[in-house]
């Protein structure tokens, strides 16, 4: 598979004026400012192949937005190199734009007073799209997202979920090979989130589209992406498939037992109990110290067990552990 994104030792440092106190300080600042340098992204390297769906996550201020901006060409790196679709973003931003689609969860690309259709017609011209290709593509996306009945309503009258479907349509009309999604499901209800996640996954599989996603919703990562890059303090701390991430960082399993008895007691080293309702017992098992079958066997021996569920810990815990592990170093 060809490489869509190749990043090597990418580095971005910001020079900021150090604020001086008092009115004299303000005047001195005007004529001889005192600068301090801060690294936002430091020697980041990674590649993304065609068709991959990658999540880039990190705490606020970690450097993920900075990284994405350098990949899209709206920010110049201080040093290092980035190649996206074979082009250098900082020098070929407009050429690159033909091949990239962007969705901002927190910023609209549509015009509030006008209909989504009006916006799509303009975008056709901006991307120099052939009229027939545009019509066919619009038809496909309208059907796929079920937005035919809202296409001609002013955008400000649409619900958030409807608007996001129109935003994603707008970003895909020109058939980009690479999709940047910045918090695409923020503020949406469960149904709308599911629809958007399904669509992104299918687009990627069917059309071979490469996806780069940032999100604070770990379900976006779990259900859409195959790979996670975790950025913290400007550096990549983890770059792994999602499944391996969970396996590597957590040796825990969560066992939920529904019982006829009010509670089930499993007194083994490596097993801790979480607070729960009556007739439900939640056990967190450290699989390094004790085997799952031992725990299950001990529970079953007490009788009255109606249901047993064994789960991996939620992705949130995984991410939280990664941040905590990196912070403690």
């Amino acid at each position: 598979m060809s490489q869509i994104i190749a990043v090597r030792e990418l580095h971005k440092a910001y020079r900021r004026v150090k604020r001086r106190r008092g009115p004299l300080g303000a005047v001195r600042e005007l004529f001889s400012p005192d600068y301090q340098t801060q690294d936002a992204v430091s020697r980041v390297s990674f590649t993304v192949s065609e068709g991959e769906r990658v999540a880039i996550i990190g705490p606020n201020g970690a450097g993920k937005s900075t990284t994405l901006k350098m990949l899209s060409g709206v920010l110049q790196p201080t040093s290092g190199s980035a190649e996206v679709l074979g082009l250098t973003p900082s020098r070929q931003r407009r050429a690159l734009a033909y091949g990239v689609g962007v969705v901002f969860g927190q910023r609209s690309q549509l015009w509030a007073e006008l209909s989504a259709r009006d916006a799509f017609l303009l975008l056709r011209r901006i991307y120099d799209q052939d009229a027939d290709v545009f019509r066919r593509r619009l038809g496909e996306l309208v059907e796929r997202f079920g937005i035919a009945n809202i296409l001609d309503q002013p955008v400000r009258q649409l619900s958030l979920g409807q608007r996001m479907r129109c935003e994603i349509t707008a970003s895909l009309l020109h058939g980009p090979k690479l999709l940047f999604l910045d918090e695409p499901t923020i503020g949406l209800d469960i149904t709308a989130k599911a629809a958007i996640r399904d669509f992104i996954r299918e687009q990627s599989r069917e059309a071979g589209q490469t996806v780069l996603l940032t999100s604070h919703d770990t379900r976006d990562i779990e259900l859409v992406c195959e790979r996670v890059i975790v950025i913290n303090e400007g550096r990549i701390v983890v770059d792994q498939p999602v499944a391996e991430l969970r396996r590597r960082f957590l040796s825990r399993k969560v066992i939920t037992i529904q019982s006829a008895t009010p509670t089930v007691t499993v007194d083994l080293p490596g097993v801790t109990r979480r607070a729960s309702e009556a007739h439900t017992t939640i056990l967190v098992v450290d699989t390094v110290r004790v085997r799952i079958e031992q725990v299950i066997a001990m529970a079953l021996a007490q009788g009255g067990i109606n249901d047993v569920t064994i789960e991996d810990p939620p992705m949130e815990e995984v991410i939280h552990e990664i941040y905590a592990a990196h912070a403690s170093r």
């Binding site: 490489q3 900082s90 910023r107 009006d118 303009l122 011209r125 002013p154």
Partner: protein, 278 residues
Amino acid sequence: MRFMPPTHRGEASFINVSASAFAAARLGALQALAAWPVLLGRVMFYLLILVVLAALWDKVAAEQVTPLAGMLPPEGLAIYIGVTEWVTLSVVAIERGFEDDIRNGGLEPYLLRPKSYLLQRVAPALGETMVRLVVLGMAGLAAVAMSGRPLPAPGALLALIVLGGLGCIVGMMLYVLVGLAAFWMRRVLPAMLIVQKLSFLLGGLVAPISLYPDWLFSIAKATPFGAHLYWVGVQTVTPSARLFCIGIAWQILWSMVLGALCALVWQAGLQKAVREGL
């Protein structure tokens, strides 16, 4: 794998750029019509300011305190002001949009598209300006007719439309420059107010600059502010084909100079933004 943009190897052709500009201008025009309460407010302001300033000049003409009052046209300056205010109020406050985009990260969606930010922003503003020119123009003609003053002849009207349209373009370029100042200033309101007042002063919003002392008149008519307002206004006081041609020449010259300046300032601002972050 090297991505090849669909057409023109990433350099948009003149035809494609024009088509995008026209589509964007159309969108701006639709937007102006959709926000009709704002348009109505502008019409009301236009009519009110005509009433106030016409009253001022009628009073001055009637009192004839100084010989200069005798230089005013016999029918007063109402139509002159109607035309200069028509152009002034038709120009969209584009600098506010630029300031918002530059300060609040709103540049990003535009930069991620394959057309220039200036095109994507200025074209809709021109579309909106054209709608205002038509609506305010109709309101102005109705006001003149209702006041009993004579309407301009069709030929004169055509000259006003051409000079007015070009005057709006010059005005818009001035405010684009103001908006681009947001790359260096946090708020552009002070710069906007200064440009606005210079337009009033050197363009002759409330009175023809031909009433100024000769030295000031010579300077004012050569400025972009003169190109914005004077040459269209003077056609209502001393209409002539010669002044029309001179006016067009100055307007085209300043449109080109200001356009080039906008492009340069934009490039400088963009370089600053991509270096230091949006």
